[in-house]
């Protein structure tokens, strides 16, 4: 447990010291601002009300789920695994009195923590900007729906993170991991559209499952099936990732 805590704290410290975290945060803020400015410009010039105060966070989430969030995860994972293998700094951790299980789990927990912080920041920022620009349309139900949408979006992103971790432990080069992730992402998305029946096996197609949570009539059974499916995927991916990490020769 001491080893796990130490690893978790160290990983968070290293992420905090890297420029990628700052870049991810700036991109997230920019995405929210650009979203609101675009909506305002369309409203003023074309007279169309694109989003009201509580729809802005959902519009932003829709864009971020297929762009910045997965990219942010991929870059952090490559940094945490491939860059440490290739720069030989992984040795510094592996030769300490701590198990590989603690190291691996500490790294994942740090990744999930940063992901949660990123999602929470985007949610809060988009809610605030939405309220400032469209104060007249603020409703408590609208805000609650946004919070639920952001919260449930964590699950497919965690599954995706575990998938990238496997690639990072299978392939040596960080660039290869990046391109493989992009290809897998696009591949799974397209397959999900073509073979709609099999989409529950392709977790990328569940990136927009938050829409089911905030729809007028909630299909609880479908949500339960999807939740269990993603939890099952996550457990399986975690085990494969750990097995690869444990057997890795440094």
């Amino acid at each position: 447990m001491v080893g796990l805590q130490a690893n978790y704290r160290n990983e968070l410290y290293k992420i905090r010291k890297k420029k990628k975290l700052a870049a991810g945060s700036i991109l997230s803020i920019l995405a929210v601002l650009i979203g609101q400015v675009s909506a305002t410009l369309i409203n003023q010039n074309l007279g169309l009300l694109l989003v009201n105060s509580t729809e802005l966070p959902l519009m932003i989430l829709g864009v971020m789920m297929y762009s910045i969030f997965p990219l942010f995860i991929t870059f952090l994972t490559i940094d945490m695994f491939n860059n440490e293998y290739n720069s030989n700094t992984m040795k510094l951790i592996l030769t300490r009195p701590t198990s590989r299980f603690s190291i691996f789990t500490g790294k994942l927990l740090a990744l999930f923590t940063v992901l949660m912080i990123n999602i929470a920041s985007v949610m809060i920022l988009s809610l605030i900007i939405g309220i400032i620009f469209n104060f007249s349309s603020v409703t408590l139900i609208g805000i609650t729906r946004s919070i639920i949408a952001y919260l449930v979006s964590l699950l497919p992103l965690i599954t995706f993170t575990l998938f990238v971790v496997i690639l990072a432990n299978l392939v040596k080069s960080g660039n290869s991991v990046f391109f493989l992730t992009i290809l897998s992402f696009i591949g799974m998305y397209v397959l999900g559209i073509i073979f709609h029946q099999a989409s529950s096996f392709l977790f990328i197609s569940m990136f927009d499952w938050y829409r089911l949570w905030i729809s007028e009539s909630i299909q609880w059974l479908k949500l339960l099936r999807m939740s269990l499916s993603m939890i099952g995927f996550s457990i399986m991916l975690y085990c494969i990732g750990y097995l690869l990490f444990e057997r890795k020769v440094v």
């Binding site: 130490a6 290293k14 700094t89 510094l92 030769t95 009195p97 198990s99 020769v249």
Partner: protein
């Protein structure tokens, strides 16, 4: 004297035929054991096996009675090491790098980090990012990292790499001091044979993945004018044996 390291039938052979084959050896507590051999003989493989970076095909290593394979955390709690090259997180300062390592030991505090930086002559560069460090400074930081937990066993792979003359003398003095005053055990590999002669009190020679001899420095120097002569003699003797076997 207690046994610090025990190698039992330790074997790890790679596809290219290199590695280590059937290593049986015991290193006593307080010994400064020098591990000599030409490039590719298997020295680094042994050190990687000792620190769990590589898993053996056969056999095991016990460190103060704890198996590296089966009781890794217990075994490594007594070990400080510097394997192959001295690396550090380049976006962090020397102090931050040591702080990260310190978090794995309850007894290592800020004072100990400063002590290690002082011992290795890095105090004035403590808050500089290590990407600006020279090879020698990186090596010093690697040594500071190995010393940090005040370990009972130090595994050092080419510890003098990149050090200037003063650095080499300081390192030799430090090794002897730690061994005499604290009973620290050292397992050192180096290609600087003269330095090994002056520092180590027991020498093992590894050739073609096999340990061909292990003797005390005093006994070696009774029969040979220098360690270099002994090394050459062992290489030639082993070469003759190998050629006779192949005939």
């Amino acid at each position: 004297m207690n046994e610090a390291i025990q190698f039992t039938n330790l074997t790890k052979l790679y596809n290219n035929g290199r590695g280590i084959d059937d290593l049986n050896l015991t290193v006593k507590q307080g010994e400064i054991f020098g591990f000599l051999g030409p490039n590719g003989a298997g020295k680094t493989t042994v050190m990687k096996l000792m620190t769990g970076l590589v898993q053996p095909t056969l056999g095991d290593v016990l460190i103060f009675g704890a198996s590296v394979q089966h009781q890794f955390v217990q075994a490594m709690s007594h070990v400080g090491c510097l394997i192959e090259t001295a690396e550090s997180f380049q976006y962090l300062s020397a102090y931050e790098n040591l702080s990260l390592s310190a978090s794995f030991y309850e007894h290592v505090d800020a004072q100990r980090i400063h002590e290690c930086l002082e011992l290795t002559g890095l105090s004035q560069y403590a808050h500089e990012k290590t990407k600006k460090f020279s090879l020698g400074m990186k090596q010093r930081l690697g040594i500071a990292n190995a010393l940090l937990s005040n370990p009972k066993l130090l595994i050092l792979d080419e510890p003098l790499n990149g050090l200037d003359v003063q650095g080499m003398l300081d390192m030799r003095y430090l090794i002897k001091k730690l061994s005499e005053e604290h009973g620290t055990t050292f397992f050192i590999s180096s290609h600087l044979i003269h330095d090994v002669e002056l520092t180590c009190n027991r020498i093992g020679i590894v050739l073609n993945s096999r340990l061909v001899s292990a003797d005390t420095t005093d006994d070696i120097l009774k029969n040979f004018s220098s360690l270099e002569q002994y090394f050459i003699n062992e290489v030639e003797r082993n070469g003759r044996i190998t050629s006779q076997l192949s005939e």
